[in-house]
């Protein structure tokens, strides 16, 4: 890979079809750049992510996993925030057990127009991961 790509960490983003996907798409439309090693897997709702998927991503070589959560905008109801928070907590514990630094999993609510916030999150997460894993 070219030098420019060596400077970025591999980040897997779980984003949601109705809420955060539109924000990530709009970031592209607005040409708000973020590292090209950020990859998105789209799912219906952030509260449906299995901790085993996240652990698998680290096992396979992803530096970080980011959950672009529905937050209070979730079309499936208010319980999403609490359930997503719960699965993140559970995954953090599993990561500790496996000796994976919990800070490599981040979550933030990304609403359907939160493009700038998404890009900011990706840039700071990338910097953090490069500093701690690839320094």
């Amino acid at each position: 890979m070219a030098d420019i790509n060596k400077k970025s960490a591999k980040i897997l983003v779980f984003s949601t079809e109705k809420i955060s996907d539109p924000a990530i798409d709009m970031a592209g439309l607005l040409k708000l750049h973020y590292p090209p090693t950020v990859y998105t897997i789209s799912i219906p709702c952030s509260s449906g992510i299995k901790p085993s998927w996240i652990l698998y991503a680290y096992e396979k070589g992803f530096d970080g996993v980011f959950i672009a959560a529905d937050g209070s905008d979730c079309v499936y109801g208010e319980s999403c925030t609490e359930k997503t928070g719960h699965l993140v907590g559970k995954t953090h514990n599993l990561m500790k057990e496996r000796g994976v630094e919990p800070a490599r999993l981040r979550m933030a609510a990304i609403c359907s127009v939160c493009s700038e916030s998404f890009v900011k999150q990706m840039r700071t997460f990338n910097e953090y991961l490069l500093k701690t894993l690839h320094a």
Binding site: M1, A2, I4, N5, S8, K10, L12, K18, D21, P22, I24, D25, M26, A27, G28, L29, K31, L32, H33, Y34, P35, P36, T37, Y39, T40, I41, I43, P44, C45, S47, G48, I49, K50, P51, S52, W53, Y56, A57, K60, G61, F62, S72, D73, C74, V75, Y76, G77, E78, S79, C80, K83, L87, K90, S112
Partner: protein, 642 residues
């Protein structure tokens, strides 16, 4: 199992993709994959000619599925699903990769990076394609009837629109009379028709339609089934008045009734009797006995033969295909002491002020005193920086200015002082603002950190502000009446919303699927929303949304049959140990406990499951997977992305 054979198409999108992503390199990177039978680049994947070529390719080569790498699936997922269908493939065998918004545009600063990313994204789509099997949509019979809940302007207009489409309508109103809030407003902004006239006109149109059943004093208490066939149980509270009541008899019955309770129609400014009508021309025309407050003294029975205390509560049942929710809003109730509310007798709310000016003439009198100086304090309960209601209630600036202009025209010696936070009389409503300025109304403004204060000095009520329009000068007004411009809040009674499990947004009003693209649908299939139950709206906006919700509700049922998405949860009966965790996590009651052979396990009701997946992560033995989002699929995509 036969190995899959798929086709992959990589789009240039003119140059939108190929200016930054080397599409030929992407093609070469994926053509060797064992299931990829053909891989092509195309100038415009969505063009008619390419769609035709795809159909030919699929048929000629007997492909099992296709992947198109192009723009966002929001734009063309359906296009390419339809191409698959035209080539006799099942639409769920199609998989999309977004290499425009998420590769070429997002990384237009780094062509190499964008190309590498596009390769990974297409590989992940191919990985997903291995699992993308043909799925049967669930076909169910649809009953061509819609229950409209709430008979305010939104519900009434929706009912009329549905009836014209030859659809049966059950219009269900909780109160004893139709019209909702609009019946409470006499003069309205931007129209010469009064609220009562509007309600009367709509009611007269409703009763002309044989396919509309109007139910008042009725509430939905149970809902079974799902889109296409929902069985509603409705509780009907009696009016205790049989047949028609002669107007003279009614007048006497009201006179003799000894009970007096605060009149909610007049926002507790006045009182009413236990037997009542809110205003003479109200619909339905039969009055009602408020049985909660009636002492059963029998005084009214003696003067009006139509009164019948033997009437019993009834439970009605209706089967409908869709539900249109139009339950409206409540007005914000200020906190005790908020701008002098409830602590100063000269402080009232905007809805109360509307009733006050509607019910008086010549002089404006409140609590026995003539009113001359009126101070309006805007945005009370809206645009809060400390409270939860951060939204703007949209309609109150206009309604306040309209009420102020009306008061000045109707009564003598009125001076209006508007303590606002920046006016929002958008669109045509701006004319009203101009009218009020030329009538001499005074506007004083502050930001959220310098709100006006209301203080009592002896018998005087003083409203003070540091007016930002005059360089922060402290200005005070001695007000005879302070009107708190209270905004709209969701109905306090949300039983019906919980019954249908309608999600609420950040503002706690009912939430649509997408503000712009699917503005009247909810995530609950078959349930649409209209009017102010979705958020602050004026009448025109409520009616607009009612007409589109009516069309949407009808379009679901118009064919008499409907297809539901098969992307639901599945349970592995071998792994499930029935712990009940998934049942507790499902917000839609889609999970049932069943016996299978000797085992008790969880089972999914496919017509109720929304495919959110909330049940999947909570299952300890990992027995739950979502179709098209199973662990195997996600993990194979992760493999392709690393």
């Amino acid at each position: 199992m036969k190995k899959k054979k798929i086709g992959v198409y990589i789009c240039h999108c003119g140059g939108n993709i190929s200016d930054y992503v080397d599409v030929e390199k992407v093609r070469q990177a994926v053509e060797g994959d064992d299931i990829v039978f053909l891989a092509k680049t195309t100038m415009f994947a969505c063009s008619d000619s390419n769609q035709r070529d795809m159909v030919e390719d699929i048929k000629a080569n007997d492909l099992d599925g296709v992947v198109v790498a192009s723009c966002s699936p929001k734009l063309h997922l359906l296009t390419f699903r339809n191409v698959s269908v035209r080539a006799d493939l099942n639409k769920y065998t199609y998989v999309h990769a977004n290499i425009r918004e998420q590769a070429s545009w997002a990384h237009s600063d780094n062509k190499m990076g964008a190309t590498e990313k596009a390769i990974h994204l297409v590989k992940a789509a191919i990985a997903k394609s291995r699992y993308a099997d043909a799925l049967e949509t669930n076909k169910i019979k649809a009953i061509k009837a819609v229950a409209v809940i709430g008979a305010g302007v939104a519900g009434m207009k929706a009912a009329l629109s549905l009836a014209e489409k030859e659809c049966d309508v059950i219009l269900i109103e909780k109160e004893s009379f139709v019209g909702g809030r609009v019946a409470q407003w006499d003069s309205l902004s931007t129209t010469t028709e009064t609220g009562k006239e509007m309600v009367k006109r709509l009611y007269n149109e409703l009763v002309k339609h044989e396919n509309i059943t109007i139910l008042t004093n009725c509430e939905v208490i149970e809902n079974k089934g799902s889109v296409g066939n929902m069985l509603l149980k409705i509780k009907k509270t009696p009016r205790y008045i049989g047949g028609t009541c002669h107007p003279e008899d009614l007048k006497r019955a009201i006179e003799v009734c000894p009970v007096e309770v605060p009149d909610e129609f007049n926002f507790r400014l006045t009182t009413r009797k236990a037997i009542y009508k809110n205003y003479p021309s109200e619909y339905p025309q039969t009055p009602v006995i408020d049985i909660k407050n009636c002492t059963r003294c029998g005084a009214c029975e003696k003067v009006c033969p139509a009164i019948d205390f033997s009437e019993k509560e009834e439970i009605l049942e209706f089967s409908v295909g869709s539900v249109l929710m139009a339950t409206g809003f409540d007005s914000y109730t200020p906190a005790y002491g908020e701008f002098g509310y409830a602590t100063s007798e000269n402080v009232i709310t905007l809805p109360q002020f509307k009733r006050l000016i509607d019910t008086q003439s010549d002089k404006l009198i409140y609590k026995g005193k003539e009113i001359n100086n009126i101070a309006y304090i805007y945005c009370v309960g809206s645009r809060q920086t400390d409270g939860e209601n951060t939204y703007c209630s949209r309609n109150c600036c206009t309604s306040t200015i309209h009420a102020a202009v009306t008061a000045k025209t109707k009564f003598t010696d009125i001076n209006n002082y508007h303590f606002n936070r920046g006016l929002r009389t958008y669109g045509k409503q701006e004319i009203l603002y101009a009218d009020s300025l030329s009538a001499g109304d005074i506007y004083l403004q502050s930001y959220e950190d310098g709100l006006p204060t209301v203080t009592l000095e002896g018998k005087k009520t003083i409203v003070k502000i540091n007016d930002i329009l005059t360089n922060g000068r402290e200005i005070e007004v001695e007000a005879d009446l302070v009107v708190l411009v209270t905004g709209m809040v969701p109905r306090a009674d949300n039983k019906v919303g919980s019954l249908f499990k309608i999600p609420k947004g950040r503002d706690k009003f009912y939430n649509e699927v997408h503000m712009k693209l699917r503005p009247v649908e909810t995530v609950i299939d078959g349930v649409t929303i209209a009017g102010a139950c979705q958020g602050p709206k004026n009448i025109a906006e409520s009616v607009n949304s009612a007409l589109s919700a009516a069309t949407k509700s009808y379009s679901i049922l118009s064919k008499g049959e409907l297809e539901t998405d098969p992307l639901v949860a599945t349970i592995d009966p071998e792994k499930c140990t029935w712990c009940g965790a998934c049942e507790a996590a499902c917000p839609f009651d889609a999970i049932l406990k069943i016996e299978k052979g000797t085992k008790v396990i969880a089972d999914i009701n496919n017509t109720v499951c929304k495919g959110c997946g909330m049940c999947a992560p909570v299952c300890e033995p990992d027995a739950v997977n979502l179709i098209a989002c199973s662990s195997a699929e996600i993990m194979s995509m992760i493999d392709a992305l690393v």
